[in-house]
Amino acid sequence: MGAFESFSDFLAMGGHGLYVWLSFGLYAVLMLWLIIEPKMNLKKQVKEQFMKNRREQS
């Protein structure tokens, strides 16, 4: 598997597994949050504006 002999070798990262996986884990979590949060914000804002517009019309 690539530069590693086995999967457990890959996980161990030559003894640096903790540092490598901590970094990449943090990156993955924050990237996902960056992608998801704006979508939720858009929904929230659209809902709020929609309610406001409807109230103004009636």
């Binding site: 530069a3 640096h16 990156y27 704006p38 809902k47 504006q49």
Partner: protein, 250 residues
């Protein structure tokens, strides 16, 4: 150039054009970042000095680059909003501040994690690291301004002024490794020299860097879109768009 600014300076045109540009940037970002991550994590050879901990470079360097680029984008938007009173520029500035915060944080955190096995310490008060911490505080300062100031126009103005003052920090980050004798290693990429690593190490890094730029641009467009819907809520086309988006079950 003028035509271009005029087009993107109009909230309505910005909103309309952002969809197709956003699609391509998202696509390139997804392909380049996932390929770069797999290549960097699995296939790149280990560094002969640092071993496998060097793989952190694949997220550390692109994130640090983005933290600076996003800041410079905010500062340019700040200048444009002050000089030409272009409201679109303020909207972009406001939309990308959280993005820059996250990348400055990733750069600092992964740097700390990388520092432990490499230098033997999580944190050192090195010139570049300290300047990066100041950058994080500048981002947080801009966000705080928007939370504290009720009046939109004065918040925009203060944020623009603060970002412009903070620009002095950017060359300090960039040249800190040359001006002072620091612990932080010098730049991996320069325009003039060939990288001091084999291609199977730097190609995935380049992919991550370009992918990160695309990610930033896609995020800039989609985040600004929401900001347009909020700030331009009184105009007719935004009302229609809100009605359309609500109908889609949003």
């Amino acid at each position: 150039m003028w035509k271009w600014i005029q087009k993107w300076g109009s909230p309505k045109l910005f909103y309309q054009m952002s969809f197709s540009w956003g699609f391509w940037f998202t696509l390139f970002a997804a392909v380049l970042i996932s390929a770069g991550l797999v290549w960097g994590l699995v296939f790149s050879p280990a560094d002969y000095q640092q071993g496998n901990s060097f793989r952190i470079i694949y997220i550390h360097v692109p994130s640090a680059m983005l933290a600076e680029v996003i800041y410079m984008t905010m500062a340019s938007m700040g200048a444009i909003s002050i000089i030409w009173k272009l409201k679109m520029a303020s909207m972009v500035l406001r939309s990308i501040a959280p993005l820059g915060t996250v990348f400055a944080f990733i750069a600092l955190a992964t740097g700390a994690i990388w520092g432990k096995p490499t230098w033997g310490a999580w944190w050192v008060w090195d010139a570049r690291i300290t300047a990066m911490l100041i950058l994080l505080f500048l981002y947080l300062g801009v966000i705080a301004l928007y939370h504290v100031m009720e009046n939109q126009q004065s918040a925009d103005k203060s944020a623009a002024v603060l970002t412009l003052i903070g620009v002095v920090n950017i060359p300090i980050i960039k040249y800190s490794v040359e001006w002072w004798n620091t612990l932080h290693q010098p730049a991996t990429f320069t325009l003039t020299e060939k990288p001091a690593m084999p291609p199977e190490m730097w190609i995935p890094l380049l992919m991550m860097a370009i992918g990160s730029y695309c990610f930033f641009l896609a995020q800039l467009l989609s985040r600004s879109r929401t900001e347009i819907l909020v700030r331009e809520r009184k105009s007719g086309w935004v009302r229609e768009e809100i009605a359309r988006l609500s109908g889609k079950g949003a």
